[in-house]
Symmetry: none
Subunit: 493 residues, 2 copies
């Protein structure tokens, strides 16, 4: 196993550099003073160039070929070696200079986005965006060639390995057809119900305390992680150093709280990865779809349930006192309010898939050369009107400019949310079948049954199996939209 062990040593170093990059990214979003942006962009480009260089060293190709002939590799070792080869292949096809260019352009574009979005200034943002998009297309073409995939499939493979346009078209077809009507039905039903809005302001410090209480209840390990504030919530760092963020709104404690629930789902996944493999490719979960399945399972299936609000109510009163709106049922009703909204991250779980499908349609059109970037505002508005009956005309900050993902060069990423959402429903249905008493425990604030089940069946498995194999092993079925649609109908109709 000499060659394989040499590769393990290399990938351990790469993992340490990757951890460094993620802490630096966290720092940029949470801590860094604005005036350091340029220095930081350059340092990140250099770091990224160095890791790329270490990975694509020709010697590694030889080592991989030799390792594939070696005896005595366990199933985990073999999966690890396969990931090493995949990583080498997709990295080796991109010249270092191109990666450096893309990193710099993305970071500058992200900074421009922060500024221009606040000013609703699509026109001034477009040149920055164009630079990134051109470079993404260039790298994508190279990936597509070496993986023998279409460009858009090569992008999808980055975030949802094992999925492609054909599979996703099939899985999404049902949703695209069913969801607009479901949205209407849910809206109609809810229009007859009264909900009371909590009256703010809610002090940030108390909102944070409430969030920390929930994180504790969900078994987040604070000895190896922390919660901070950033413009866009995320979960970064590494398994022993999880950096979760959220953003607080003065008049709405609910939004930050559910954001925290979502990110805690990611965090539990990271903290539950097998410790003996965390510095190897097989011990990491690069699949965003899988990662979202865990964050959405916690947020949507658990934390938007009536039982969760039964547990939460005394904690809410403890922080914010008594209010008419503070009943378990009213808070639950608020958490499942269906309201077509321009902003994806504020969307409810019924309209959310339509936000994703909108982006999926636009990405397909962009990468299949049916439209260009400058068509986006118009096309966005058209789809938004058709799916959700809303317009973004003249309001690009809440349309095409609302997310950081495209400005930072992440295309092919959004579908992973909905793939993850469908998996979350499918995993959770299996869990509930095996643990029918769970919600009675959850109402008392005991979530350990779920967290332990996720740890045993999913988190501890890291990337040893392809997503669909793991899904099949745990749930007995391939990915489908049945469990999600059942869930929606049960909760909303």
């Amino acid at each position: 196993m000499k060659s394989y062990l040499k590769l393990k040593e290399l990938f351990k170093q790469l993992s340490q550099l990757h951890y460094t990059q993620r802490i630096m990214q966290w720092d940029e979003a949470v801590m860094m003073p604005e005036g350091a942006a340029e220095t930081r962009a350059q340092a990140m480009a250099t770091l990224s160039g160095l890791t790329q260089k270490m990975l694509v060293n020709k010697k590694n190709q030889t080592l991989i070929a030799a390792a594939k002939q070696e005896q005595g590799l366990s199933a985990w070792d073999s999966a690890n070696l396969a990931w090493m080869e995949h990583k080498y292949t997709v990295a080796a096809c991109i010249p270092v200079k191109l990666t450096e260019k893309l990193t710099t352009a993305s970071m500058n574009c992200e900074q421009a986005w922060r500024k221009m979005r606040a000013q609703n200034n699509w026109k001034q943002f477009l040149p920055h965006f164009n630079k990134v998009f051109k470079l993404v297309k260039e790298t994508t073409k190279r990936r597509a060639d070496v993986l023998q995939l279409s460009p858009y499939d090569a992008l999808l493979d980055q975030y949802a390995p094992g999925f492609n346009q054909k599979k996703i078209d099939a899985i999404f077809a049902d949703l695209k057809q069913t969801m607009p009507a479901l949205v209407q039905q849910a809206k109609n039903k809810q229009s007859k119900e009264q909900v009371a809005l909590p009256a703010g302001p809610f002090a940030m410090e108390l909102q944070k305390e409430l969030g920390l209480t929930v994180m504790h209840a969900l078994q987040f390990d604070f000895n190896q992680g922390r919660l901070d504030v950033s413009h866009h919530p995320f979960c970064s760092g590494g398994p022993t150093d999880v950096r979760m963020t959220t953003r607080y709104q003065k008049d709405d404690f609910h939004s930050a709280l559910l954001g925290i629930c979502h990110e805690t789902g990611h965090a539990l996944y990271e903290q539950g990865l097998p410790r003996e493999w965390i510095d190897q490719p097989v011990g990491v979960v690069d699949s965003m779809a899988m990662h979202e399945s865990q964050s959405l399972l916690i947020e949507m299936q658990l934390c938007r349930s009536p039982e969760f609000y039964h547990y939460l109510l005394p904690e809410v009163k403890n922080k914010f006192g008594e209010q008419e709106a503070f009943t378990a049922d009213n808070l639950y009703q608020l958490a499942i309010r269906v309201k077509p909204n321009l902003i994806r991250v504020e969307a409810d779980e019924v309209t959310y898939p339509l936000h994703i499908i909108l982006r999926y349609e636009l990405e397909k059109a962009l990468f299949n050369d049916e439209i260009t970037l400058k068509d986006l505002p118009t096309r966005w508005d058209e789809l938004m009107r058709s799916y959700l009956g809303l317009s973004t005309k003249g309001n690009d900050k809440d349309g095409v400019m609302q997310d950081v993902h495209w400005p930072s060069g992440a295309f092919g990423y959004f579908p992973a949310y909905t793939l993850g959402r469908l998996m979350a429903a499918q995993f959770f249905a299996t869990f509930l079948r095996q643990n029918p008493q769970f919600f009675a425990e959850a109402a008392k604030g005991n979530f350990s049954g779920l967290v332990n089940w996720l740890h045993k069946n999913i988190h501890s498995q890291a990337s040893v199996l392809p997503t669909e194999d793991l899904l099949k092993k745990v749930t007995g079925e391939s990915l489908n939209s049945k469990y999600f649609l059942d869930h929606i109908k049960q909760r909303y109709l």
Copy 2:
């Protein structure tokens, strides 16, 4: 200039990696959850190994030799090239294995020190200390050989380039002779004066606001820097991303405030370095003596002056209300209290140089083989009695074991504090001669005259000149103790 430009590119990358390391170190002290310590230590070791490898590449030696023959280099370029060569030389002379051994021994010795210091157990600490000392001697010998210096001069060169034992002996002679008597005179004078202690607690948030107010007044650029909390105050990051820290004590706002003044001196230096050179060796200030000259100038010469407290008083009252102790004169008197103390980091500016000279004498004796480690407790006690009239007999935890520096392998470091202090006095005397109206302005909170002068004469010059040349250019004299002694006499007698 082809070779020189190649070197510039390499050192630019090294500078970016160095910036990354400094942000990661800041994160470790300020943000990192405890449970990430091991992952972080490994990542930092990998990062440090990579940069070392990039620097000592044999190709660089060839490039340096070629660059030295190239035409058209400006004065800054030539100084830059000299620094490159110096950095290469001192890095290349130490085998990786030896560095690793020293790192391990230092870490073990530091751990032993933490434990044995608490137990006042010099005897059990000694074998660990011996191991580190032997390895330091070994690395020092290599540095000394390649730099053609004596071993102790090679150590001094790390922290105060340009200074050596002969020069320092001459500069310190005066202090050694004069200071013990000055300490007594200052003590006697102060023993007749009454000072009122401020009564806490002082809310951390208000202490921080006061610190930020002072930083603003001192023209700290918050667009390229920030202030946080750590166990030991420091200033890290980089010129466009300065990370200052302090620690707050509930019952003593004065201590954190003066700590902030000190670190702001470092920060202004960093923020004032010439932007076109910040990613090159000539644009950085590695000389700890020079860096301390700037922090001590701000802290000791400006912020412990009566005029500063005249400015500060309304700010203090604004934050903490009225108190008997809150008069400008009383706060000033508190800031200049003289009290011989066993602990260096708690010493005032009058006794501080004697703490340094004590260590300097012992380091010289050690590296000139006049004493061995086991003589240290006795020798420490003798010098402490002679300089400050205090004994450490049987109290090694507050004697030879008080600082982490020696256990962690840092010898030759302490003299830089006092060299910096003397420079601070010498620079400031020149400034005052040229700007006799300054203190009248300072009393109104206008420090721009000083900050601009430091920027023009010192900060913007980075490392283009040897320390003593810069000192001579600015003050017209070589380093001497006259201005410091004048200052002490004027303030304390």
